[in-house]
């Protein structure tokens, strides 16, 4: 059988790895500010992403206040509502989730999990963070620019995005947004190349690709996808900047705005949509694949059971990653593109459901006959499965072209994508933070606070987004600051909206508890020790906790087995770390 067959422990020739040349910081500034250590960069990324994420959270409160209690708050008028949804959506998807999963988790975990000393290009890695920070600052600046931020929706569809009927369209808003996105992509590319090269080139002895933890597989595949997808957004952003500033007409046909003939002509608004979604759909999986990977590791560790069907899981990640480049136009079923595309894209989209379902089954089968510890990370994992399953299933509605026709651009879509790419990945982020916090800080997060945070967030988020589907089914469109009196929406929908808004406020407040816990546990948390969860992967086997500069002692750890040796029959303990030599893992039945 091939070497990946779990349990097969191959002795590894004990040769000495060349001492990797590391950059050694000389001062406090180069150690903690302009740091080239991936761990510090990961923390910088995470903190920045959470800070800007808080802005998006506050915006969601404001939107929910407006939707739940229309025309009660005089400071929320239609232009500002559109600015809120745009900034909320863009921040959540790009500046929070992408940055946190790849820049945050990726930087911290990749070198540790593959047994490297650092990223391969530490200097570019440092630049990556600072350019990301600049992108965030430019984005924030647009709140203070004359006319405020853009209100074009996070999809930024032209012609509307650069015309005067949209907030920020003829002002600074759209320019700053596009510049910020371009910066983000430049910064991401520097980090992304690092993650890919590090995974491919800097793995420790014995760490074959098929022994890597699924977290690494998820982040790696997502990074490769992002490197392929972001350029489409980049060129779209640059072309739109040209249209806006230089008067080109890439996306602008001849049009009459408010009775005035504009000097544009010959461009195609649909072209932008293709560019946007060629990025935008893979983006969903850029966020989802790291979540898949992390969840797999959390579930296996906390259920004390090997991940079920590791190879299938790897192939599902890679397969989903590849397929997700040929489904983008399912966001454009009612865009007016050629109707025959509907057949193709509906088919590819529903095919993706199969590998995705396999992942869900394998997580469940990992729970089955496990030894489940209902720790806070495990609870978030369960919540991820519920919300991801729910959102994935409603994806089968929207992917099935003709079913999408009545539902597209309604609150059904809003509910769907929040479930699948809002709530579900956020659950994983929380689970991941509770899980790895002890490694990062040396202390456990407070359990009681964690559980309160979990229950409010999970049940609250479900209560917000599950009923919202039915508003969409009624026909309530998205991106409406109020639906107003209509012939088809019953008054009871108002009550539902108010309910959703109240729950949203509560869920938002619960996040403050999480932030408090983060800070509180830094000093007051229980000492964690090197491996509080009895996990197998390398990051828990570092000589120091938190890991020091260079991660490992004299040598990088040799790897003898896969990452999921939990509950191996005959072994002394219910887990065998990846770097434990076969001799000491007495009689662990590795037959090969």
């Amino acid at each position: 059988m091939s070497e990946i067959v779990p349990g097969a422990d191959h002795p590894i020739p004990h040769d000495h790895a060349d001492d990797v040349e590391l950059y050694h910081p000389h001062s406090w500034i180069t150690k903690y500010v302009f740091s080239q250590d991936a761990k510090v960069i990961g923390i910088q990324y995470s903190l920045t992403a959470m800070a800007i994420g808080l802005v998006a959270l506050v915006l969601s409160w404001l939107m929910r206040l407006q939707l739940g209690f229309p025309s009660t708050f005089s400071f929320i008028d239609p232009p500002s509502y559109y600015q809120f949804i745009t900034m909320h959506g863009m921040i959540m998807v790009v500046y929070l989730l992408t940055a946190l999963f790849l820049g945050g988790f990726g930087n911290y975990l990749i070198p540790l999990m593959v047994g490297a000393r650092d990223m391969v290009f530490p200097y570019a890695n440092m630049l990556s963070y600072w350019i990301y920070l600049l992108a965030v600052l430019v984005l924030v600046a647009s709140f203070f620019a004359p006319g405020g931020p853009t209100g074009a929706g996070w999809t930024l569809y032209p012609p509307q995005a650069i015309l005067s009927g949209t907030p920020g369209g003829q002002g600074w808003g759209i320019i700053l947004m596009l510049v910020s996105l371009a910066l983000f992509i430049i910064g991401f590319t520097m980090g992304g190349l690092n993650y890919v090269v590090t995974v491919l080139q800097a793995r420790t002895r014995g760490m074959t690709l098929m022994r890597m933890p699924l977290t690494v597989w998820g982040i790696f595949t997502a990074t490769v996808m992002a490197l392929l997808a972001f350029p489409a957004l980049f060129v779209g952003a640059v072309m739109m900047l040209f249209d806006r500033l230089l008067g080109t007409s890439f996306f602008m046909p001849a049009l009459v705005e408010m009775g005035q003939q504009l000097r544009y002509g010959g461009g195609s608004p649909i072209l932008f949509q293709h560019l946007f979604w060629f990025f935008g759909h893979p983006e969903v999986y850029i966020v989802a694949l790291p979540a898949f990977g992390i969840v797999s590791d959390l579930i296996s560790t906390h259920a004390r059971r090997n991940i079920f069907g590791y190879r299938m899981m790897v192939w599902a990640i890679v397969g989903i990653g590849a397929l997700s480049f040929i489904v983008w136009a399912h966001h454009m079923y009612v865009s007016g593109m050629h109707p025959w595309f509907g057949f193709f894209f509906a088919t590819t989209t529903l095919i993706i459901a199969v590998p995705t379902a396999i992942k869900v089954y394998n997580w469940l089968l990992t729970l089955w006959r496990g030894d489940i510890h209902l720790t806070v990370p495990m609870l978030f994992t369960l919540a991820f499965i519920v919300t991801f399953l729910n959102g994935g299933l409603t994806g089968l509605f929207l992917g099935n072209v003709v079913v999408d026709v009545p539902l597209s651009d309604t609150m059904f879509v809003v509910a769907h994508f929040h479930m699948v790419m809002g709530v579900a990945p956020i659950m994983v982020i929380f689970g991941g933070i509770y899980h790895w916090y002890p490694k990062v800080t040396g202390r456990m997060m407070n359990d009681a606070m964690g559980k309160i945070h979990f229950w409010v967030t999970f049940l609250g988020a479900y209560l917000i987004f599950f009923p919202m589907h039915y508003l969409g089914l009624l026909g309530v469109p998205r991106r409406y600051h109020e639906i107003g009196p209509t012939s088809f929406v019953p008054d009871s929908a108002e009550t539902l909206n108010a309910f959703i808004s109240v729950v949203a406020l509560v869920v938002g407040a619960a996040q403050m508890l999480f932030l408090f816990n983060l800070a509180w546990s830094l000093r007051r948390g229980r000492e964690a020790g090197p491996n509080p969860w009895n996990a197998t992967t390398l990051e828990w086997q570092t000589p120091q906790t938190p890991p020091g500069h260079g991660n490992w002692g004299k040598e990088t750890p040799p790897v003898y087995r896969w990452a999921y040796a939990y509950g191996v029959p005959g072994a002394a303990r219910d887990f065998i770390p990846q770097n434990e030599p076969p001799a000491t893992a007495a009689g662990d039945g590795g037959s090969g």
Partner: protein, 285 residues
């Protein structure tokens, strides 16, 4: 125990909400009952999967919760099980996709006898154009748009002369007659959406898009814009009145054609056509 119970409650609660909450699709008023059927089928299949998986999860949490001395069962793979599950999933997916594609084919195949009408979207209102006596719409182009020709109908096209222009009025349609709705935007994207008709499609400046349907119920229906088009997006409402054949014909004879409107407008403002200003020229001046 509590966790398993809550998982069961989530499953049961979701189904109960689905069955008994007062919020559901608005009653249909077009021939697209097939779309509703496909939605319902999808609800059944996905709902079943959702409940089964949640219950299985609850069972696992209850049954395999850690106990002293317990160890997980070590079983890295089970190829047979994995292939079975893959196969069953593929069948379930195909069971939704196949009817979906069949109905999509109907959705994009316009019947021969469908009447062509036009809906024009601009910030932030709807206008409509109906073919006149000749049953055909004349050519149009945004370059012809002006105060007296708000829809940009080509004044040189004879087929356009008898077109009926409804600007600031409701759209009227006869019941049980298939219509092919041509969609035209003259500034930004819009989307003409009547929830009761189920069909919708974006309008794209520079192109003409379409959908078709047959109204099957008389009454007045609300049209909304379903593609973000600027600050007035939510206020961009219209009305569609579906009438019996007789009522519709009676209304139709009273309507004025493009030629009549144009002549009236030309008489009214014989001089001073509004200047076509160019924003960029103006800005650079």
């Amino acid at each position: 125990m509590a966790v398993a119970l809550i998982l069961v409650l989530v499953a049961v609660g979701s189904v109960a909400f689905h069955l008994w909450s007062p919020w559901w699709s608005t009653p249909i008023a077009s021939n697209w009952g097939y779309i509703d059927d496909t939605i319902n089928l999808t609800f059944w299949i996905t709902g079943f999967v959702f409940v089964v998986i949640l219950l299985f999860m609850a069972y696992c949490v209850l049954r395999f919760r850690t106990r002293p001395g317990n160890r997980a069962h070590y079983e890295p793979e089970n190829k047979r099980l994995e292939w079975w599950l893959t196969g069953i999933t593929a069948i379930g997916v195909a069971a939704m996709l196949a009817p979906g594609l069949v109905v999509w084919n109907q959705f994009i195949t316009v019947p021969r006898d469908a009447t062509e009408i036009e809906v024009v979207g601009q910030q932030w209102r709807w206008s409509y154009r109906l073919p006149g006596q000749d049953g055909r719409l004349g050519r149009s182009d945004v370059r012809h748009v002006s105060a007296e020709n708000p829809l940009g109908v080509d004044p040189t096209d004879p087929q356009g002369q008898d077109d009926i222009i409804l600007d600031g009025e409701d759209l009227r349609l006869p019941i049980d007659r298939p219509v092919r709705v041509l969609l035209r935007g003259i500034d930004v994207l819009h989307n003409f959406y009547v929830p009761e008709f189920r069909a919708k499609m974006d309008m794209i400046p520079g192109s003409i898009t379409y959908f078709w349907f047959t109204p099957t119920r008389t009454g007045t229906f609300e049209a909304l814009c379903a593609e973000l088009c600027g600050v007035g997006h939510a206020a961009m409402r219209g009305r569609v009145v579906v009438q019996t054949q007789a009522e519709y014909q009676a209304w139709l004879v009273g309507q004025r054609t493009f030629a009549e409107l144009g002549a009236a407008a030309r008489r009214a403002q014989a001089s001073a056509p509004p200047p076509e200003r160019d924003r960029y020229e103006e800005a650079s001046r």
